[in-house]
């Protein structure tokens, strides 16, 4: 299973790699990292249908996570991948907006990896 992680915080990569150490080692999950919305879109273009799950931050300079979400959900991807939004602002408005745009789930920072792992299991 391929998971695309989008965040402008570069340290998100070592964090995910360590958190999913066992899964990566076992070849269960393959992580791809993008540091902006634009990068994420080009990444999706390159590896069509491969990414099953997209984890995206909402607050990013340039294209925000919500814009990315609407791009992914309203455009070309068939079948559309599962998109989970992650944000430091766990407020209702962000949640509502994300759900309206077709987000599959919503997580608040700091990320609770145990529950994230559970959610990944249910989605896949």
């Amino acid at each position: 299973m391929k998971i695309l992680v989008v965040d402008d915080e570069k340290d998100i990569q070592p964090l995910f790699q360590q958190r999913f150490r066992k899964e990566i080692k076992n070849g269960e999950i393959d992580f791809v990292f993008a540091y902006s919305g634009i990068e994420a879109l080009s990444c999706l273009k390159d590896c069509k249908h491969e990414a099953v799950l997209i984890l995206s931050d909402i607050n990013m300079p340039g294209m925000s996570g919500l814009e990315l979400l609407s791009e992914i959900k309203q455009k070309n991807h068939v079948p559309p991948p599962v998109v989970m939004m992650i944000t430091a602002y766990g407020d209702d408005e962000n949640y509502k907006r994300a759900m309206e745009l077709g987000a599959d789930d919503f997580l608040a920072k700091p990320i609770d990896f145990i529950s994230l792992k559970d959610k990944i299991k249910t989605f896949v």
Partner: protein, 684 residues
């Protein structure tokens, strides 16, 4: 002696007819004038009529003349015809003198004198008054005062040449009487010259003197010179002069001259011991004088005759003694003398009083002037005092207002600070949550790694232990890094809200700018969900640390960056609105592709440190470009901006010795440029 005639023909023609016939004629004229008075007449005409009646009555009824004269004076006074008032007074004086009524003449003179002197500038026309007064005092034997009055005529003579002539003549009379013959002759010469000049003066307009004289010089002038010659023992010259007078006056209308001359000739013959001639001329003198009741003429003649007849004809002598004493009594009667002395004493007293009053008046004037000045000074002083009080009050008011303004300003600055802090809080939350995410997760995952490492150590898999320990080390570094990041944000927040202590510190502008750029971005994101913009930094890595007050400069950067983001969102908002309302479906490519971007650039030029904050918004319109640094100027909707941001920023940069400028272009964007002089800003 002298004549002052206005109605020359009218009067003089009647003087000659002083008999019964003359009187009836005069009375007829007076009656017709009285008829005129019965009719309603204006005061000026009434004055004129009274004046004429006065003159007509002069010789036939002195009391009536006095009555009408007084009325004439009143009317002239009423109509403010001072010239005529003086004229009729002079006339009445002379009449009274000739009639022997010296007290009345003196009274008239003394009554008009203060009026004349009160006028001060009144010059012409008053000479006859002085002339008559001089004569009266001469009769009274006060020659000093007499000369004084005659001199007055000389002073006023600049406009009254005949007055000068009579003035000198009067003085000559006095000098002759006290045997100052040389002085008398000098005065006579001057008098002669003045008469001559007066006769040839073409613009001679004085109504108060008889004009034109039918003789070159006043006839009595020769009589007087004859007297002097006689005293100088020159009887031939004296006689020649007297004959000259007689020739000019014998058939003239002025009878008294003739009378005088006869008497003078009589006196001359007396000194020459020619009794018959003397008696003859004395009798002729009295005869002429009688025609006009000329007292002086009668007196002079009767004196001579009384003396002559004393030894020859006692009866005649007695007659003339009686005549002499009667006329003398008329002139110098004991009663008269007493009256006049009283009058003069009173006048002198009055004069003294007038002088005293004048002094008093002067003093009062001086006093008033002093009081006036004092009052003015007082007013000025009060004015100045009030003014200074008002100023003082105004100053206090201004100071109060200034203090209020100051405190309001500091409150505003504080509220501006808190407002920007409020904008920051959301950003701060995000900026803290993110590092906390790493701190929490890296530490949690590290616990797992340690657990794993133990397992590997137990199995003796040293390679795996090595990898794990490296990861652990890396994680701990990450934890430390993100912990510091969070703490610096908290410190920055505290610093921002804290009142600036104004202490300069060597500050890394790149770090500061980056920090505030992120804070601003996330703050705006937190506030406005639809907001998004890209930001970019172009930092000069070689940029030296500069000595600034970090909180202050941070505030400036935050403000400029916030404004930049605001400008971008404004443009993107307006452009999407435009495209939505556009009837054409085809969106303008330019607007569709609009990507909001804020850049912060630092660079070092030769002697400058430059910080630029750039946006690609709509640009600032030329019309408000000059205003944006003014306090309270804002383009934001009410309640959204304090209008102090740029104004405070400007002041802060100025206080650091730098400058804050801007470049702006419509639909391209705006660039704020902070420039610090390198030398100053790098000093510690």
């Amino acid at each position: 002696m002298m004549r002052y005639i206005l109605l020359l023909v009218f009067i003089v023609s009647n003087v000659q007819l002083m008999g019964q016939k003359g009187n009836t004629n005069l009375i007829r004229q007076i009656d017709s004038l009285k008829q005129e008075l019965v009719k309603p007449q204006p005061d000026s005409i009434k004055a004129e009529i009274h004046s004429r009646i006065t003159i007509n009555y002069m010789h036939i009824n002195p009391d009536s003349s006095k009555y009408y004269g007084e009325n004439a004076i009143k009317f002239f006074e009423k109509t403010k015809n001072f010239r005529q008032q003086v004229f009729i007074t002079g006339h009445m004086m002379e009449t009274n003198i000739k009639l022997g009524n010296l007290p009345m003449a003196l009274e008239l003179g003394l009554s008009i004198l203060p009026l004349i002197e009160g006028r001060g500038v009144y010059k012409s026309g008053v000479s006859p008054i002085y002339d008559n007064l001089g004569l009266i005092y001469h009769y009274l034997g006060d020659n000093e005062k007499s000369i004084q009055y005659y001199r007055m005529m000389l002073i006023r003579g600049d406009v009254d040449i005949r007055g000068v002539a009579f003035g000198y003549f009067g003085m000559a009379v006095v000098y002759e009487s006290i045997n100052k013959l040389d002085s008398a002759l000098i005065c006579l010469d001057k008098s002669h010259d003045a008469f001559y000049e007066g006769n040839h003066s073409t613009n001679y307009e004085d109504i108060n003197w008889d004009k034109p004289y039918q003789y070159k010089v006043y006839p009595a002038w020769y009589n007087l010179r004859a007297k002097v010659y006689l005293k100088q023992n020159k009887p031939e010259l004296a006689l020649a002069d007297l004959r000259e007078t007689l020739n000019t006056t014998l058939n003239s209308k002025e009878v008294f001259h003739t009378s005088n001359t006869y008497n003078d000739i009589s006196a001359l013959y007396k000194t020459l011991n020619k009794s018959d001639s003397s008696i003859y001329y004395a009798e002729k003198g009295i005869e002429e004088a009688n025609k006009i009741s000329y007292i002086s003429g009668i007196l002079d003649g009767s004196k001579i005759l009384a003396e002559y007849y004393e030894s020859i004809d006692p009866q005649k002598a007695l007659k003339y003694f009686k005549l002499t004493s009667e006329t003398e009594k008329k002139l110098y009667g004991a009663g008269n003398m007493q009256v006049m002395k009283d009058m003069i004493a009173q006048s002198d007293k009055k004069q003294v009083e007038i002088e005293a009053a004048k002094d008093k008046y002067q003093n009062r004037l001086r006093m008033n002037a002093i009081m006036g000045i004092a009052f003015t000074l007082l007013v000025i002083a009060i004015f100045l005092f009030i003014n200074s009080r008002r100023k003082q009050k105004a100053k206090l008011k201004i100071e109060k207002a200034y203090d209020l303004l100051k405190s309001t300003q500091s409150q505003l600055i504080q509220s501006e600070k808190m407002a920007s802090l409020g904008e920051l809080t959301a950003g701060i939350a995000h900026e803290i949550q993110n590092p906390l995410n790493f701190v929490n997760n890296f530490s949690e995952v590290s616990v797992d790694l340690v657990e794993e490492m133990r397992e590997e150590m137990a199995t003796g898999n040293t390679d795996e232990v090595d990898v794990l320990s490296n990861d652990l080390k890396q994680n701990l570094e990450k934890i430390s890094h993100h912990g510091k990041r969070a703490s610096s944000i908290v410190i920055g927040m505290l610093e921002h809200s804290r009142a600036s202590d104004g202490k300069r510190e060597l500050t890394d502008i790149n770090t500061l700018a980056d920090e505030y750029l992120r804070l601003a971005y996330h703050g705006l994101r937190a506030k406005d969900k639809s907001f998004n913009a890209d930001f970019k930094t172009a930092f000069d890595d070689e940029l030296p640390k500069i000595s600034v007050v970090p909180q202050d400069i941070g505030r400036v950067l935050l403000n400029l960056i916030n404004n930049a983001f605001y400008a971008c969102t404004e443009r993107s908002r307006t452009s999407t609105e435009q495209s939505r309302t556009s009837t054409e479906r085809s969106r303008s490519a330019d607007e569709n592709d609009y990507k909001p971007l804020v850049s912060v650039i630092t660079l070092k030029e030769e002697d400058k440190i430059i910080i630029k904050v750039r946006d690609n918004g709509n640009g600032i319109p030329e019309s408000i470009k000059d205003k944006i640094f003014q306090p309270f100027f804002t383009t934001k909707p009410t309640g959204q901006g304090t209008g102090l941001g740029l104004s405070l920023s400007y002041d802060i940069i100025k206080a650091h010795g730098g400058s804050l400028e801007l470049n702006t272009e419509k639909n391209v964007g705006t660039e704020f440029i902070i420039t610090f002089p390198y030398q100053e800003i790098t000093k510690e």
